[in-house]
Amino acid sequence: MIVTTAGLGRTYGRKRAVDDVSFTLRPGRLTGFLGPNGSGKSTTMRLMLGLDRGDGRTEWDGQQLRDLPIPARAVGAHLDAKAFHPKRTVRRHLMMHAAASGVGARRVAEVLDLVGLGSVADDSPGGFSLGMAQRVGLATAILAEPDVLMLDEPSNGLDPQSIQWLREFLRAYAHAGHTVFVSSHLLPEMQLMADHVVVIGRGTVLADQSVADFVDRSASSQVLVRVADTAAVLSAATRAGLAAVSEGPDGVVVTGASTEQVGLLVHETGQPVRELVARNASLEQAFIDLTRDAQEYTGGEVA
């Protein structure tokens, strides 16, 4: 299912929390939704689902969510970590949600085992840890095996093994042809998981591209080349409009260019290349570079 958002917007008092947010989510792809705190990620997700009132529209294969015959089979969402009655057993919680999509007790049992809650299925979740609560939320979201899965910070509170399990599960879910949209602050985790990212800052979309392209475009993406005559390479880079600095006796670091571009640059100077290394920025670094000016809340400098 293709999900298209167009012109999403929301104002709280005088603050424009989300402004003209438009992007497309495609099946078979896990899209990460990144942004600093207060950038409008959760509001955007709520606007997409029609939970909050605002501007713009979201279409699910060209239709409004409320016009789909069984909305719970189109989208499963997990937006709040502890969204359950503390005294209702996990199984009964899922059976209740099963009524919304028409799935039966067998699927409930299957999902309980899938998320690792089989042994506590008949317990009340009131005393569950955050990680266990996240599993209940995930179980609720995937119950009807929806075409689209939307998760807001699903990794919060999970231990490393659970995070790894979640990553593998979500990747498999996306690559089985579903549309997966996940917000997270765990950027290294997102780099391992996502195929595509939508980055939002101060309520507007800053980037909407593949993870590889997003990382490559970062100012922190550099290429190191080692040659005998560094001055010739520095001049060639300047002529090509690239930022380059020398590093050590025989190194030149070129910013914002691919290894292929730098290789051609050195070829023009007519000297052999001793070493050519791409120093790709991480998703985290690329994110920090991009959102540096879009931080809503920033801490002081650490002494």
Binding site: G50, D52, A72, L79, A83, H97, A99, A100, S101, G102
Partner: protein, 238 residues
Amino acid sequence: MAGMRRALLFEVRRVTSVWSTWILLGLIFLVGLATTLNLLRGEVTADDFPLGAVNHLTAGGVLAAAIGASAIGAELRWNTLRALYTAFPRRTDIVLAKVGVVVALLVALSIVCTGVDTAVISVAAGGTGFGGEWLGLGTRSALVLVSWGVIGFSVAALTRSQVAGFLVPVAVAYIVEIGLLSVFPSNTLASLLPFINASEATSVGTPAVEAFEHAAVFGGFAVALLVAAVVVLRRRDA
């Protein structure tokens, strides 16, 4: 229509899967039964039969408001409203399903309570005495009980608070209205106050036609609040 059916099934499973629902329903039943048994300590005659139709209202209205309030208030309290509206983007379906299940539960309970109370009195009075007024009074008591539930639901929805859904109707019924009438004693004012009308509707001494008019005023008040609640729930952020 299919959406409404799924919403009703969802709500039935929600309501029946927590103990608090059964505790509240049980309390309404037990309070009514206790009142009846207390009545039997005196001399019971055929004149007491109508009382069997309303004994469960002794504290039942207040508890019915709590049942109504929990239908929507629990969703707000436990952060489940967003998951609910995601599954049921047509909010009217799920809101009406919630009200429908509250109404059905209270009507069923009202029938059981009235039946049991009346059976107990019937045995104590020698097995005779079902007058025509019994059915009318039983019907009005069911209407009043259901209206209390709807008012509890609506107030909880409007105030976004389960506790307010229970406390506000109680405060209006037992403090505000009584206080108003003691300061401004007037039949006209009394005829406009919802909970005074509820009381008149289920009073054994009120003539049937007049009593149904009182029940209609109380029910109308509940419906008006419900309409406001539905409008607000449809438009408000989850």
